[in-house]
């Protein structure tokens, strides 16, 4: 363990730690641009210069590329180091445009920070700034090459980390250019990370430009709900609108990055057409009116038809809290049936995966990254769990063999960033005893026997769940012996349903009476439902999700529910004729327009109370209470012990 002194502070770090990281460990941030913890060391920007006063190395050194050694005496504030750093800023500012006021990066720009910090305020250079032509990079990312400070982060991420081939560096000397090699949008499904990784405004999020500054945003730690990987994100909200979504570091899940679906697929959150008002028989009503009517309707139905002809239908879209309360609501309704899935095949696979996975065999991300063999079982990884493709790529680069077992040919647009061999069966994958192997498969719609066979190979397992919270749905469906709705309908066992964030296909609905539904999006259930109660999306709610590996993660409300101010219907302005659609309303209101939504579990809690059940104060009770204190900014916890401990 090397011991060194940085700015008079003694530091002891693990061997191989750089001086920059050692300094960071005691709270000293050495300015840097090209250094990024997820990327290989480049030592290109030369901003992290420090002076070594004593020890095995002396003089000005780049702290990112200098491994800490015993006896080093490092000064980050030596005048020579300061001069070097201020010159680096001056050099970068020779060509960087002074366009911060019209740059979307302004306020969250590393170059701004370090220019101010570096003390370069007076322009001595008398030459002209160089200019470039920008490229069209697609609908997600705006390109502004004039701002480039050539830290090479983008090319190193895009090519080395993410395996992209259509974007990189061109030219040399003062004409280095980062862009696509030919016309057209970026092809990598991870291209959006260029926005996060660029230290200045070369790549900005085109889908949310010029709406707000960094300090305007409401943030909270959140979990992406697009697939069962559960990547950590930070939605950036402004005036009840999710403007941007950026990646948030969690080394146990997604590292530093997120896929483009997580970043750009957000229009549905802001959609003014989302059902936001409680409804009774087609007419907008108060929240209590709708809940009362729903409770009354349930009680009536149960009294007439018996509780077992009523099904309460949820889905993997619900948070764990919602899933737990759905079961309580079924009890309060006198023992109504419980559905967490519509499709029997999906439930079978999900339940089987949740049953087969244990602490010992459920793969951690590092198991994937360090594997020697990886088998993708009938899986289009980029489609089903894009971020895992980057973990597999890490293993591939370290020499792992990758196999696609029994899979359909992968469409060209989903070509993964690693080479693989297509084989017909798992027997052809050379898993050796004691070796590190991982099998990745989709659990939804897989035959439980096949999943059991896969689990018996001795490799670590990744079983991707249908939906963001599929693991929890599988667990609860098993615990409560829930049946898939399609089975109940086929057996004519139910006649009425109450749906909570459940997507029931129209075919299934035709013979059913929909008593009430609660959701944040429109669909056949919502259309058919005489009583409708709006709920919040994951951006507007607190909750817990369990990802494919059994990791429970807490997401936090990052903005209030309600209609975005932008484009707000003039009816909320008090004067429908006034053309003020882009300006905040001038009429004071007590309530948030369109803000009647509550988390689905809160709706369930109200119904439970109305139906005479035990009042719900806290949705996570019993074994789940261990998850109440889950830190939204932590790594999450795997739930196997909790489940086993019941």
């Amino acid at each position: 363990m090397p011991k060194l002194i940085i700015d008079d502070i003694p530091v002891e770090v693990a061997p191989g730690t750089s001086v920059l990281e050692a300094a960071r460990s005691v709270g000293i941030t050495i300015p840097h641009f090209c250094y990024h913890p997820a990327l290989a060391i480049a030592a290109a920007c030369r901003l992290c210069a420090v002076k070594l006063l004593d020890g095995p190395v002396k003089g000005i050194q780049m702290s990112c590329a200098l491994p800490a050694q015993d006896g080093m005496v490092v000064s980050t504030t030596d005048p020579e180091a300061l001069k070097m750093r201020s010159l680096v800023i001056e050099w970068l500012m020779l060509n960087h445009p002074h366009d911060c006021p019209v740059c979307d990066e302004g306020g969250e720009c590393l170059l701004q920070d370090f220019t101010i910090a570096g003390g370069h305020s007076h322009r001595r250079y008398q030459g002209k700034k160089r200019t470039f032509q920008n490229q069209y990079l697609g609908e997600g990312i705006q390109h502004e090459m004039n701002r480039c400070i050539e830290c090479y982060r983008c090319a190193r991420f895009y090519q080395d980390y993410a395996g992209g081939t259509d974007f990189g560096v061109m030219g040399s000397a003062g004409r280095v250019y980062f862009g696509r090699f030919q016309e057209g949008p970026l092809e990598s499904p991870f291209s959006g990370n260029l926005v996060d990784i660029c230290p200045t405004g070369v790549f900005t999020d085109k889908t949310g430009r010029f709406r707000a500054r960094y300090w305007d945003y409401q943030f909270a730690p959140s979990i992406c709900q697009h697939c069962s990987v559960g990547c950590n994100t930070s939605p950036q909200n402004f005036q009840r609108e999710t403007i941007k979504i950026v990646g948030r570091r969690n080394d146990q899940v997604n590292g530093w990055f997120i896929c483009d679906r997580a970043r750009f697929d957000k229009g549905y959150l802001n959609d003014p057409q989302r059902p936001r008002e409680p409804r009774l028989d087609g007419a907008t009503c108060g929240d209590d009116v709708a809940v009362d009517a729903a409770a009354k309707s349930i009680a009536e139905f149960v009294r007439k038809n018996g509780a077992d002809s009523l099904a309460l239908v949820g889905s993997p879209r619900l948070s764990l809290e919602g899933m737990v309360l759905l079961a309580q609501l079924a009890r309060a309704a006198g023992g109504a049936r419980l559905c967490y899935f519509g499709d029997p095949a999906q439930q079978q696979g999900s339940v089987a995966a949740a049953r087969l996975l244990r602490e010992e065999n459920s793969a951690y991300v590092r198991d994937i990254e360090q594997a020697q063999w990886i088998a993708l079982h009938a899986l289009d990884l980029i489609e089903e769990a894009p971020m895992l493709a980057l973990s597999v790529r890490k293993a591939f680069l370290a020499g792992a063999q990758i196999f696609l077992v029994d899979g359909d040919p992968i469409p060209a647009r989903n070509t993964p960033p690693f080479k693989y061999t297509a084989v017909e069966s798992l027997d052809q994958v050379p898993f050796e005893k004691g070796g590190k192997g991982v099998i990745i498969c989709g659990a939804g719609k897989k035959d439980p026997d096949l999943l059991a066979q896969i689990a018996s190979c001795g490799a670590k397992l990744v079983m991707l769940q249908p939906g963001a919270n599929g693991f929890a749905a599988g667990l609860l469906a098993q615990e409560h012996a829930a049946s898939p709705l399609a089975d109940l309908v086929a057996a004519r066992q139910v006649r009425g349903v109450v749906c909570f964030e459940a997507d029931v296909p129209e075919g299934l609905l035709s013979g059913l009476e929909v008593l009430a539904s609660a959701d944040w999006r429109r669909g056949p259930v919502e259309a058919k439902s005489p009583i409708f109660i709006p709920t919040t999306t994951w951006v507007e709610s607190d909750g817990t999700a369990i990802n494919y590996e059994g990791r429970a993660q807490r997401f936090q409300r990052s903005r209030l529910a309600g209609l975005p101010l932008k484009g707000l219907d003039p009816k909320y302005y008090g004067n429908a004729t006034e053309a003020v659609t882009l300006h905040p309303p001038r009429v004071h209101r007590e309530e948030v327009p369109g803000g009647a939504e509550r988390d689905a579990w809160q709706v369930m809690a109200q119904l439970i109370a109305r139906l005479g059940g035990e009042p719900v104060v806290e949705p996570l009770e019993g074994k789940w209470s261990a998850l109440r204190s889950l830190d939204p900014e932590g790594e999450g916890i795997r739930i196997f012990e909790i489940v086993a401990g019941e």
Partner: protein
């Protein structure tokens, strides 16, 4: 005593394979293969005191000794023929007259280092030299001196010619390795050094053309003979000096190490042109400091030139007379370096154009007093770059500010170049 490199040269044409062999060519190879172990060959090169002729002047024997012998997998030898520094054209002259010394030298080096496959990395513009080498390689193969089972032995050595697209940075050995692998020619960070992890991550030696072309004579005649070629006791061997600028005969000449600057100019080059007076010269290619009239009797060897505050470098001598403006000359060199930066690290990519802008203003009479301060900052802080390109580029600027500051100041105070009417 006959100097090794140019002794086979014919005026105005390339020596033929037969002529080279008749004059003792490939005898060193036979000698090595019939009675010397690879270690013997390496030891001879070590003892000869041969130093890298590409510019850095590092001991060739020591460079070879850094290659670990116990690593599995292939190791590589690369001949660096990316000769692009302004004022340096010795490798071109050598190869346009005689490709065989290099081919024989590389074969011997491969034998010494245990290399199966070697590359010659040759720059664009050297098509004639490349054609000579291509032909020479074929001839040597046909004669059993290269390829499978050389001279009937168990040793097989292949030599490939790689025609580069041509950038100055490709002369930096790690950038060259990247270029040869088909990547962008950005230098790699060191350590690991190429001797441990170079081409395709294997141990790799990169030597200059002239360095390798010296090897046959060392093996044939022995290390003491080679050492004895030099005129000064510390030196070893001969050196190709390629002279340009204000001399009567601008030529590439082979002279013993230790020949004085005056003897190179007055002797081989026939003196200054048109009776001009010697003002300064760059002794070893564009990335070396100026030498002045007081250095006229300086023996041209690595140590002595370094003590005089410059470097022997590549032996590319550019001679300036009293009518030359050294601000303009330095600007010319900086323009080259600014253009040839690979663009990897900030100080080189941005600092060199900055220096160029300032020198341009000074030369055009728009210089300011503060400019000298800024230039001095660059001389100091452009040392902290990723590779040696920018520090090399600062050498002539450093020399300019050290030895000719008055000339720079005159530009600023008179608001014009004093050498222009």
């Amino acid at each position: 005593m006959e100097l090794p490199l140019f002794r086979h040269n014919r005026p105005n044409r390339v020596v033929t394979f037969d002529e080279y062999r008749e004059e003792g060519g490939f005898e060193a190879l036979k000698k090595a293969f019939s009675g010397m172990s690879p270690n013997d060959v390496q030891q001879a090169v070590m003892d000869s005191g041969l130093r890298g002729r590409g510019g850095a002047g590092f001991s060739t024997g020591r460079k070879w000794s850094f290659v670990p012998r116990d690593l599995p997998g292939p190791r590589w030898l690369i001949c660096n023929c990316d000769e692009m520094e302004p004022g340096t054209y010795k490798d071109r002259v050598l190869l346009e007259h005689n490709p065989y010394s290099l081919i024989e030298g590389m074969t011997l080096a491969c034998y010494a280092l245990g290399v199966r496959h070697a590359f010659i990395f040759i720059r664009k513009g050297y098509e004639k030299a490349a054609a000579n080498l291509a032909r020479g390689i074929e001839e040597a193969k046909k004669a059993g001196l290269l390829g499978e089972h050389i001279l009937g032995s168990e040793h097989s050595i292949d030599l490939d010619l790689h025609l580069s697209a041509g950038r100055y940075i490709c002369g930096e050995e790690t950038a060259l390795i990247n270029a040869l692998e088909g990547k962008r020619p950005n230098p790699r960070s060191k350590p690991p050094f190429p001797a441990v992890k170079g081409l395709w991550q294997g141990p790799t030696v990169v030597n200059n053309v002239e360095t390798l072309a010296n090897v046959p004579a060392i093996v044939a005649n022995g290390a003491p003979w080679f050492k004895g070629l030099a005129l000064n006791p510390e030196g070893a061997g001969s050196k190709l000096f390629c002279v340009s600028g204000s001399v009567k005969n601008r030529a590439c000449v082979e002279l013993p190490i230790g020949t004085t600057l005056g003897d190179i100019i007055d002797g081989a080059c026939g003196g200054m042109r048109d009776g001009r007076k010697f003002k300064a010269c760059i002794p070893g290619g564009a990335s070396t400091q100026f030498l002045k009239p007081e250095h006229w009797t300086l023996p041209m060897d690595y140590e002595t030139v370094a003590k005089a505050g410059s470097r022997l470098g590549s032996g590319g001598v550019i001679v300036f007379d009293e009518g030359h403006c050294l601000v303009e000359a330095t600007l010319n060199l900086i323009t080259f370096f600014a253009r040839e930066s690979c663009g990897w690290c900030t100080p080189c990519r941005e600092g060199l154009p900055y220096v160029k802008e300032i020198l341009t203003r000074i030369e055009n009479g728009r210089g300011e007093e503060d400019d000298i301060t800024i230039l001095r900052e660059h001389v100091k802080y452009l040392n902290y770059t990723f590779c040696a390109l920018a520090p090399g580029a600062m050498a002539p600027l450093d020399g300019l500010l050290r030895d000719f500051e008055d000339e720079v100041r005159e530009h600023i105070t008179k608001k014009k170049c004093p050498f222009k009417g």
